[in-house]
């Protein structure tokens, strides 16, 4: 990765992190739908990136966010899971003709169909692990399901909007 790209992704890491802990933390729709937008940072990293740095990024991003959510370890665990599974999931979803080099897996580069199929299961998994750890010690499961489903939808919608507005199309056709 070139130094310019490293700088770009570091900046985007910071922006995702700050928005998550200072704005989205207080934004919970109907008391159930959380928005964990930072997962999209991990999802839109270049597909050439190996699994190990991905997991480390997921871990540290999660840990930093945990400090502000007072949920130490929960975001970290979920972030590592996403980082671990992402590359295999990308491989499963390889479009005909394969991936182009230097084209990150974002909404505009890959199209809404591919992007939904790519991001929704990973978001669901992330949210499921997060809210499952959160619900340990309680005996209610319906709120858990509602939280997971509504948060996945909310995160996906907001994430897609962010992708459509703030990301550039880099695919050369």
């Amino acid at each position: 990765m070139s130094s310019g790209k490293i700088l770009k992704y570091s900046g985007s890491f910071l922006v995702y992190f700050l928005i998550q802990v200072f704005i989205l933390k207080d934004l919970v729709l109907f008391g159930y739908a959380f928005c964990f937008l930072y997962v999209f940072f991990i999802l839109s990293l270049p597909h050439e990136m190996p699994t190990i740095p991905l997991m480390l990024i997921g871990f540290f991003m999660g840990l930093l966010i945990d400090l502000f959510y007072d949920s130490l370890g929960m975001h970290a665990a979920s972030g590592v899971l996403v980082g671990f599974i992402r590359n295999s999931w990308i491989k499963v979803n390889t479009p005909t003709g394969g991936y182009d080099d230097n084209v990150p897996p974002t909404l505009l580069n890959m199209g809404i169909g591919w992007f939904s199929f790519y991001s929704l299961p990973l978001l669901l998994l992330h949210h499921l692990l997060f809210f499952y750890i959160d619900s340990l010690g309680t005996e209610v499961y319906l709120p858990l399901v509602i939280r997971v489903v509504s948060s996945t939808a909310f995160t996906f919608i907001l994430g897609s909007i962010v992708q459509a507005i703030f990301y550039r199309k880099e695919r050369v056709l």
């Binding site: 008391g31 699994t51 945990d66 007072d70 949920s71 340990l136």
Partner: protein, 277 residues
């Protein structure tokens, strides 16, 4: 040998994944007490006993410092006796005057709050250097907020009432029937009143206040109002739903309370409940 190293190298992502997950889950279990209770259940008794033996043994070595601090405490108590009324923070509120002398109050500002998770915490802007200690009660003019869980130099973290592990000793104001308030993790403005026997008559609208029995809170701080009464699942206790009186989504300034006599009360109760003594 080389084969094994190669094999492990090929699995490096999986190994790192497991290590990081274990690390994260380890942090979760040590940081959050309800999950910790699930995880560390079996080891509790062993470590507790070991620590008790160690403390018994070590206490002889600290007699000198204990004596010294007792003398210091004596001096400061004599000073307080001189003043007759204890110095308080700027917080003003009415309390039963009999209890007022064993409690001291602080004020603090909420700087972090969550209400939508199953285990919610607050962060306050006062810490050790302001005199905040673990276990202090937190409330505001509306009602009970929570209990201090940990302190740093300048901040403290508080277990909110909206935490499924926090029990608050409470009573029904008119009838003096005692119970425990516990959040069920469902709505941020409702909680349950547990351990009220079935023969007790409870009607919606009755006020629930702190009982003063667990010595964290003074008696009579508002918790909520009875919303709904149903026969309980197990048949021995009523299933009482409360509307909490504090609005947890809008917390700003809170008061902290410390009971000087809490340790004494706790140790007396433990002594009395220990069998064979």
């Amino acid at each position: 040998m080389q084969q094994i190293v190669l094999f492990l190298y090929r699995l490096r992502a999986l190994i790192l994944f497991l290590v990081l997950e274990m690390l994260a889950v380890g942090i979760v279990f040590t940081h959050n007490s309800p999950q910790g209770a699930v995880f560390f259940n079996s080891s509790n008794k062993l470590t507790g006993n070991l620590l008790a033996v160690k403390t018994n043994f070590m206490s002889y070595f600290s007699l000198y410092t204990v004596n010294q601090s007792l003398a210091e405490k004596n001096a400061s108590l004599l000073n307080r006796l001189d003043q007759l009324t204890p110095v308080r923070d700027s917080v003003e509120f009415t309390l039963d005057s009999v209890l007022a002398n064993s409690f001291e109050f602080w004020s603090a500002r909420v700087i972090n709050n969550s209400i939508h998770l199953s285990q919610n915490y607050l962060t306050l802007n006062k810490g050790i250097i302001h005199g905040i200690k673990e276990g202090m009660g937190v409330f505001n003019e509306q009602g009970v907020i929570g209990r201090v869980k940990g302190t740093s130099t300048h901040f403290s973290s508080v277990i909110s009432v909206l935490h499924t592990d926090l029990l608050i000793s409470s009573k029904i104001k008119d009838t003096e029937v005692i119970g425990s308030t516990k959040w069920d993790g469902l709505k941020s403005d409702e909680a349950k009143l547990l351990y009220v026997p079935r023969h007790v008559e409870v009607v919606p609208g009755q006020e629930i206040v702190t009982s003063g029995y667990n010595a964290v809170f003074p008696e009579g701080i508002s918790i909520g109002k009875v919303k709904e009464v149903r026969p309980g699942v197990d048949g021995n206790y009523l299933d009482i739903t409360l509307t909490l009186s504090a609005d947890y989504s809008r917390l700003n300034y809170v008061y902290l309370v410390e009971n000087y006599l809490r340790e004494e009360l706790d140790s007396l109760e433990i002594e009395n409940s220990a069998p064979g003594l």
